[in-house]
């Protein structure tokens, strides 16, 4: 398992990345490499060139901006997890991040890289959808584009076009009057989720987002209902996700996790409305 040959570029500016991509659409961006390198090794990805963006200064910042936490494309997962008062600023992000890979991969892997990879069972795409966060990208034209909600179009597939380079992801800050909860079930802590659930609740309604079942994170809005009513709604939702059997779990098992863990996550989010 060794990667096929590729050229390696180390760049300092976004313009250099655009230039490389304009000249050769077969260029892949590498940041932390925690998803791209295994793909290269297994030769599931065979780009003719790889461009390393970790030395572009403007991409390495985490800051608070206009009601959001803005995380640059070169910010490693461990850096965000260690960001002061993360749990206070966005409890869902703080709850989900320890489930992203292992400490050893979070030290290298980036937030935006995981989102760009769009694995349907990964935690960060789930959190992005649950919070209705925004992904900002630089376009070749020098403009920036933003995608909210419609970014994920299928397994490992986003709506990002070749000339768009992710600049940052914006996670909305915690809002007063809202409660957040996250749960995951997997064979081992840090493995890809069999099912993961994120809920955002306010006094009127709760939005549950589920990962690991459909081909991308899927959400449902549930109006204030009794637990019994919510359970019925969740049953329909579980069936609507078109769960499939695989090596790790049967479709039936996944549906059951959506019902049970979904309800528990909803209850937890409601309980911690602050």
């Amino acid at each position: 398992m060794k990667p096929a040959r590729f050229d390696y570029y180390n760049v300092e500016t976004i313009d250099q990345v655009h230039k490389l991509i304009a000249d050769n659409p077969d260029v892949r961006v590498i940041a932390g490499g925690q998803t791209l390198v295994p793909m290269l090794s297994m030769r599931l990805a065979r780009p003719s060139a790889v461009v390393d963006i970790m030395r572009i200064d403007q991409l390495s910042k985490i800051d608070e901006k206009a009601g959001s936490i803005r995380v640059g494309a070169a910010v490693r997962q461990a850096a965000l997890l260690a960001w002061p008062r993360l749990a206070e600023k966005q409890p869902l992000l703080a709850a989900a991040l320890p489930w992203v890979g292992h400490a050893q991969t979070r030290n290298r892997g980036t937030i935006c890289g995981s989102i760009a990879h769009a694995d349907p069972s990964a935690e960060l795409p789930l959190v992005l959808v649950a919070l209705n966060g925004v992904v900002r990208a630089f376009k070749q034209t020098g403009k920036t584009s933003s995608a909210r909600g419609r970014l994920f179009v299928g397994p490992m597939t986003t709506a990002r076009s070749d000339d768009e380079i992710i600049e940052a992801v914006l996670f909305p800050l915690r809002e007063n009057g809202k409660g957040y909860a996250f749960n995951e079930f997997g064979r081992r802590h840090g493995d890809f989720a069999i099912v993961s659930c994120a809920a955002v609740a306010d006094a009127k309604e709760v939005r549950l987002t589920v990962g690991g079942v459909a081909d991308r994170p899927a959400s449902i809005q549930i109006q204030a209902a009794s637990d019994a009513e919510a359970a019925l709604i969740l049953n329909d939702f579980a069936w609507s996700l078109q769960a499939r059997d695989d090596l790790h779990a049967s479709a039936e098992y996944r549906r059951q996790l959506v019902r049970q863990m979904g309800l528990r996550t909803i209850c937890e989010a409601r309980q911690c409305i602050a």
């Binding site: 570029y9 760049v11 490499g33 390198v37 090794s41 320890p98 292992h102 400490a103 050893q104």
Partner: protein
């Protein structure tokens, strides 16, 4: 902008266990292979080669990371520590290694180098680790021999010894 073309060998230089080292790598050369084949540092083991097993874990600028998920060209100019750098002097074991021996925390030993590199970093920042916390941290490593019990016992014992050492 710096370009290394696919078929050229690039001179990669970094610090390994406090010593400046260099060797030649293609862009596609993984850090595991660079350490073992270019530098002859075979203490770092190659297991699954896709980031799951943890056997190849080394410290890059003080942080544990998978050498198999890192290109050698990415660590140019960094400071690395591998299992060879743990012993305080030839013929002596570090506190963590000594605890592993005492608690029989290895059988075949294939996963051990990676686990030691993770624990070496972890116990520096977590001086009073709880068992649950340790088990979660060790989830980044697969050991098929021990069942993890002795590894956790060794880590707890090492943490206590390191505390004593710091108090003295």
């Amino acid at each position: 902008m710096h370009r290394v073309s696919a078929d050229t060998l690039y001179k990669v230089k970094f610090e390994l266990n406090g010593i400046s080292v260099e060797g030649f790598a293609e862009p596609r050369t993984l850090l595991t292979d660079f350490l073992r084949h270019q530098l002859g540092a075979t203490g770092t083991h190659v297991g699954c080669e896709h980031g799951v097993c943890g056997a190849c874990t080394v410290q890059i600028d003080g942080e544990p990371a998978r050498a198999c998920l890192t290109l050698a060209v990415q660590v140019d100019g960094s400071s690395l520590k591998s299992v060879e750098g743990l012993t305080p002097e030839p013929g002596r074991l570090s506190i963590i290694q000594e605890s592993f021996r005492k608690h029989h925390a290895l059988q075949c030993g294939f996963c051990t180098a990676g686990i030691l590199m993770s624990l070496d970093a972890f116990l520096k920042t977590h001086t009073h680790p709880g068992e649950d916390e340790l088990r979660e941290y060790l989830s980044g490593h697969i050991c098929r021999c021990t069942g993890y019990g002795p590894i956790v016992a060794a880590a707890l014992d090492a943490a206590a010894k390191l505390r004593e050492g710091n108090d003295a």
